[in-house]
Symmetry: none
Subunit: 196 residues, 4 copies
DNA sequence: GATGAATGAGCGTTCATTCAT
DNA sequence: CATGAATGAACGCTCATTCAT
């Protein structure tokens, strides 16, 4: 089995363990068991240390997540539409890739600072600023609003991770409406225009 | 020293340790050291297990937090005003009781499901429903909106816990505006009426 | 059992293990077994890490060794006599405290640089310089000669540690003679005067 | 690549690793890396176990060392001169083949008893006895004196291995003088005759 | 011969917990 | 009540060694 494949297999097992038992349960022993490995030494063989595995999981999960979301965003023709696509894609991802989503939630706090950069935050802030320049969004502080938008996404994610009952479809609709109300110029036409 | 006082002392030390080093660093050894105890055995003596201590910390922090917030809410004369007071009080609490706030953030994921109940969530949903009945709020799904409101609060809290730079005053203003836009009927008078 | 006593017991067990099996065999597991402890964790409980135990062993063994030697040196009335007493005492120590001597040999290379200072080397060099000032010793480089004297001591120690057959009594006599010949002014009276 | 060449390559890499990081750092991984091998398996393939590699290193280093020294000894015309040549050659070797010398120092304690035989010791004792028979040396116990002479050599070697500052040229001169004083009949002419 | 992934024993260390005093 | 030494399970990690390719 090739190195690449083994690493991927281990990361996949880690994602599963993280999704099922949370970070605390994600010991090498458990991950090895789920991956069908006979020794935790093999994980150390492929990853220099636990931190590297954690970072690899974070990178993988983040990569898949970002791919999923970006694919659904670049069809947008304006900042507001892109924002809506972002929210929709995020909730969809949670519905379709539950394990990845929960694993991200569990692993985020433990990823290296360098790795776990605020890239997402900055991109969101930029998108919001762009929408303000285009006149689509009202005059809020873009950085703070970026915190809010990501917080809404993370709140849904946390809810999912905590196994609380949650209707993701309704959640998606309400989320889009709420963010539009909160960000766009208050003409009332937009929110109303979409029937919500 | 009375049982009550000892427990309170230990919980207070735990809060400090949690705020400073996060959950991972919150070993009995460290907590005992901060509390000025000479043995971790004393912690085990007063708390049946680590889980009980964690739950006690969660209960204490939650109690103080709720007290702070409720005190500032019941002056409100309507649901919208109460909601605004809730948001303001939450951010204020983070500013004035940083350790308690961060400890809450750190400990929440590890508190017993039974303890960490969704009481807050339900109360928020009830408030929102009340506002809808009174005609103050628009027609959203109250449970979902409650998730969102709490998510916004938690997002700010997480930002604080991660030691990211954050201007709590601006955050408070933007948060209130955003939630008002997202919840009240779109007359535009309210948000505008407060000079933002 | 008091902390002090436990530490001493563990150090004593470590000395025994080192003397019997060398540094490589001196695992916590083995030391704990020899000390009659039920868990290696207890060693970690009393010593912050393996390095601290190693340093404690080095300190203990060095302390006993130095005490033994110094007691027999300060009776000397001149540098030459002190030097002779040093050599004699060293060999005697190896004979009477075999385990401590071998443990010192095994542990020396692994003691912290700070701990394993060249104190002995410097003291020897000072003694030699003093003897030169007094006219007892010939004109050699004191630092280099100190290296030699300590090397002779260490050579005997190594021989002991390697379980090679060695007659310590004869060794003591020959060592004293050799060092006197090598250090004192070549009158010939001294070495001869002692019946060799 | 021939078996012989591979073994030599691995041994050479081991010597380098031993000289740079000491025995503790001489893992197969490191040796393979220095040797430019892609797998530690290759080392196990060519050497039955770590012990065999260690013994091979000891043999190689000892062989080179002995060759260097013997080449400079057989020019001597008497035991005293040979002894002096031995000492000189030893110190010269340390200066000119630092890595081999330090590797010898590091590996000696771990070589098999069988391999690490006392051949050198016996040869030195024989040389000393020869000198005694020829009237060049005084009446000491040859075996013990051999221990001393080798101890002096090893002391310098250890100093080198410990990265302590050491002036090998001065060391060489002082060493020759000391050993001559300690071994030859005390006419005083020799040591003085060489101007030291 | 050479590769490199896989193995499994052993390591030092941390931790919550227990219990005799 | 309080102490603090003792316990033992679990952890991440390293290493020489094996073996299918």
């Amino acid at each position: 089995m090739t190195e690449q494949a083994r690493r991927a297999q281990i990361v996949a097992a880690a994602v599963e363990v993280l999704a099922e038992g949370g970070y605390a349960a994600a010991s090498f022993k458990r991950i090895a068991a789920v991956a069908g490995l006979s020794s935790t030494g093999l994980i150390s063989y492929h990853f220099k240390g636990k931190q590297e595995l954690v970072d690899a999981v974070y990178a993988e999960v983040t990569h898949v997540f970002a791919g999923f979301v970006l694919e659904r965003m670049d069809r947008g023709t304006g900042a507001a539409e892109e924002l809506r696509a972002f929210l929709t894609a995020n909730v969809r991802f949670m519905a379709e890739h539950r394990n990845h989503a929960i694993a991200l939630h569990e692993v985020r706090a433990h990823a290296s600072a360098a790795t776990a950069g605020d890239g997402d935050h900055r991109k969101m802030a930029d998108l919001l600023r762009e929408g303000q320049r285009a006149g689509e969004f009202r005059d809020f502080d873009a950085d703070t609003m970026a915190v809010f938008v990501m917080a809404l996404r993370d709140g849904v994610l946390a809810r999912l991770g905590n196994r609380a009952e949650i209707d993701l479809d309704r959640c998606e609709r309400e989320l889009v409406t709420m963010v539009e109300l909160a960000t766009t110029r208050g003409t009332g036409t937009w929110a109303g225009g979409h029937g919500r």
